[in-house]
Symmetry: C2
């Protein structure tokens, strides 16, 4: 089991029994989603914005237009952090204090660099697209050189990380368990609804297998 080394930066302070440093488990949480909250400092204030990401090994890829304030600011800083969370259940206890949620969250810390060559950019965008929807890249129109030029691609190398997972039931005070109060979980889940074809779609084109597979895995 490969683990991120615990340091002052990534050590989980609260709820240490929920802390996870295992690289494979952290990657599984990252691969279960594709939206991360990227943090940066703008004029002395911390801000975070949601961005789509792709992962390949210890690399995270982000992209945007060449003028994106946040990505340019991350490149200036040379480092970034990103947080990903999946909400799995409401945990409804008998007392207010023990209400909670089940979730899987990861916070990554690492260095960032700009991807410079069109070839490397294209490889990063392929990784990004495969992460969002496996099999789509090969079905779409190829990137044009000027589109690659207009795109800013940032590569983060994950240097350290930690995850927190809560996946258990209600944890009330023993003396509260006999109260006439319902307690339990309400599981929450993100699902996909059936694909909706573009209004301008050519009539001869059917929903492709990669989209049907995505829908079947997420419905």
């Amino acid at each position: 089991m490969k683990e991120y080394q615990k340091s002052k930066l990534n050590r989980v302070k609260r709820g240490q029994k929920r802390a996870v440093y295992d690289v494979e488990k952290i990657n599984t949480i990252l691969d279960a989603g594709f939206i991360g909250f990227v943090s940066y400092i703008h004029e002395g204030k911390a801000i975070s914005l949601p961005m789509a990401y792709g992962r390949n090994s210890d690399k995270i890829y982000l992209h945007s237009s060449q003028t994106n304030r946040m990505l340019l600011s991350l490149l200036d800083a040379g480092e970034m952090s990103m947080t990903v969370m999946h909400l799995d259940a409401l945990v409804l206890a008998r007392s207010g204090l023990h209400h909670s949620v089940n979730y899987r969250s990861v916070t990554l810390f690492g260095s960032v660099k700009k991807i410079e060559t069109p070839k490397e950019k294209e490889a990063a965008l392929y990784c990004f697209m495969e992460h969002m929807m496996k099999g789509r890249w090969d079905d779409i129109r190829a990137m044009k050189a000027e589109e690659l030029d207009r795109t800013l691609v940032v590569e983060m190398t994950i240097e350290t990380a930690s995850a927190k997972i809560r996946d258990v039931g209600v944890n009330d005070e023993p003396e509260d368990e006999f109260l006439p109060v319902w307690a339990g979980l309400v599981p929450l889940k993100q699902i996909a609804l059936p694909p909706i074809s573009d209004k301008k779609l050519r009539e001869d084109i059917k929903v492709p297998n990669h989209v049907i597979e995505y829908y079947n895995m997420h419905k």
Copy 2:
């Protein structure tokens, strides 16, 4: 229509046609969820962590234990920002460049203060619980004085904010519309699954109306 005044801090830089400053629309996005990504600076680095929140008018309530590093750091700074996002669809275009997602996101900026009196703390926690699940607070065991003591409650006053909404279809280049490539949306939605009673639940206790109503609204 009441709007947040545009300033250097909250003005949306990219995709201005998607920008929203309307207070009521921003509140609707905040009320559609209860997990926000709170940003703070720790040893010169920007970090964001997910937290549950409640909203009442222009106030946002967060709570944790008295020793929570992030909340103490926000109180030190006297200000915070929080971002909330709902993911609504994958937007699958004919070219890589026009792939996108439909979403509603809000970023809030404001001042923070600690709630000091037990009475005000309890009112904030009531707001918090009502925001997560309407009607639950009145059904659970009342807070004890020592539980209120152990709880750190932070009140943010929203001073400025902006939202971004993308809720349209595929936006391909006109010359790509005749390509033999499927394009369209895959809607995404967070749903609730049927409630699961705690294993230790007294046998005479049924799932209460507030939980059934929540499930019916989110299934």
